[in-house]
């Protein structure tokens, strides 16, 4: 039995390497996010945003961009026989879940590294909120990654892959989006970042992450059986 740590590192490195070589997901996610900002600029007819509007635009954009990456997360496994290889390998199958979620967190962080500064450049008056925003982004990424990995691994084995991920994922992440935008809204109000109920929302995000990480870890084994 290969130690889980080694297997985790190997799968994660494989994923990152293949993404770096093919650039299948990340450029599309970033482009999508920037284009969506432009659509919001004209759809809302605003040149600067603050408070709940800013947090809504940011989170809606990040969520839909994330869906693009989540859709493609297991495509290589399915089409190139990666699932069979994992089944044959002497490793704990939950390691695949952890490694894929970790890869997704890295994709999302990379997306936000591009999209959030551009968002600030387009719409925000000051960048003072970006520091505390990082903690919200990280916690939300973790939740999106565990739920996204779980849904993606199921959807990829179905007929309606591209349809199922957004269909099932969106209602599942509603609480995550409530908490993330609840924490982001006071950060982006005019007149500097505020912290109204900031800690409470971070706790809700953490609770969401914890529950779905545990659920995903517990049920992932059943998704690989065949």
């Amino acid at each position: 039995m290969t130690p889980s740590r080694v297997a985790f590192a190997a799968i994660l490195a494989k994923d990152l390497r293949s993404e770096l070589r093919t650039l299948q997901s990340l450029p599309a996610m970033a482009l999508f996010a920037v284009t969506t900002f432009i659509i919001f600029r004209f759809g809302l007819d605003r040149t600067s945003l603050s408070g709940s509007l800013a947090s809504g635009v940011l989170w809606a954009t990040l969520l839909f961009a994330a869906v693009l990456g989540i859709n493609r997360l297991f495509v290589a496994e399915r089409e190139e026989g990666g699932f069979d290889a994992i089944r044959l390998a002497p490793i704990d199958r939950s390691v695949l879940f952890a490694a894929k979620a970790a890869a997704l967190i890295i994709y999302l962080a990379a997306l936000e590294l591009v999209a959030v500064p551009i968002f600030a450049l387009f719409f925000l008056d000051s960048v003072a909120a970006l520091g505390p925003l990082v903690s919200v982004l990280l916690l939300a990424d973790l939740g999106l990654a565990v739920v996204g990995t779980l849904i993606s691994s199921m959807a990829v084995n179905s007929r309606a892959r591209d349809l199922l991920v957004p269909l099932v994922l969106l209602p599942l992440v509603v609480p995550l989006m409530i908490a993330a935008s609840g924490a982001t809204e006071p950060l982006l109000v005019v007149g500097g970042p505020g912290y109204h109920r900031f800690g409470t929302w971070l706790m809700v995000l953490g609770l969401y992450d914890l529950i779905f990480a545990l659920v995903g870890w517990a049920v992932f084994d059943f998704l690989l059986e065949d």
Binding site: M154, N157, L163, L164, V215, V219, E225
Partner: protein, 240 residues
């Protein structure tokens, strides 16, 4: 075999509803603020809590399916969720009527319970396209169970998040269903709840019986088409 006990159960349901509705209209007092329309409470709240409990029960059946790999539990889980989704439609309709009557709008966004319920309902609506997009029968059952477990964990979390998104001072009209109720209303409410819960159990049993009968029929037909092979004795109802 699933049909066993269906008749007494159906009769009990009808009786419970007759008693419940008689209590609603002839025994329970008119509520001082809202008057007659408040009586929809005796249908709306039992439907909602039964549907939510049904979703959780579907998740528990799904856990049983994942642990034992017995297709029977998958059928139970599917039917529990299916009937709860149908109840959910009733909850949203009665909720909208009640909201229109007492707040003046068909839909109110600052009533957290209603909003949470809508989100949960939408999630469980995706159970059907999700389930039937997977062709292989065993895999379909397994994935549906994973969905049911995940969604079951989602239900309480969602209620927490939506409730927290409201300003904390919002007045809760019927926050504690038992807490502020006079005895006669409480009794009526409990009888109605029992009736709705019985209806849920009856419908689940009915659906299971129908599914098992049609599955059995399909197997017998298959056996007729291919003589020489005895019909399999699998008794779990087929979900299709």
């Amino acid at each position: 075999m699933y049909g066993k006990g269906l008749r007494p159960l159906s009769i009990a349901t009808v009786v419970a509803f007759a008693v419940g509705f008689s209590l609603v209209f002839f025994y329970a007092p008119l509520e001082a603020d809202q008057g007659f329309i408040q009586k929809i409470f005796y249908l709306h709240v039992p439907l909602a809590s039964t549907a939510l409990i049904g979703f959780i029960v579907g998740g528990i059946f799904a856990i049983a399916h994942l642990r034992t790999d017995n297709p029977k539990w998958d059928a139970y889980s599917y039917v529990a969720i299916h009937i709860s989704v149908i109840f959910g439609v009733g909850v949203l309709i009665t909720g909208a009527i009640w909201a229109k009557a007492s707040w003046g709008h068909w839909w109110v966004w600052d009533e957290p319970t209603l909003v949470s319920f809508l989100i949960v309902f939408l999630l469980y609506c995706t159970y059907y396209p999700f389930r039937y997009a997977i062709e292989d029968r065993d895999r379909q059952a397994r994935y549906a169970s994973v969905f049911a477990v995940t969604a079951g964990a989602f239900v309480p979390l969602n209620f927490l998040a939506v409730r927290m998104a409201q300003s904390l001072v919002h007045p809760r009209v019927f926050a504690t269903s038992e807490g502020g109720l006079p005895g006669s209303m409480l009794l009526t409410f409990l009888v109605c709840w029992a009736a709705v819960a019985l209806l849920w159990v009856t419908l689940v049993k009915f659906e299971l019986t129908a599914k098992s009968a049609s599955g059995q029929l399909k197997r017998l037909r298959r056996a007729l088409d291919a003589p020489g092979r005895a019909p399999s004795s699998r008794i779990a109802p087929e979900v299709s």
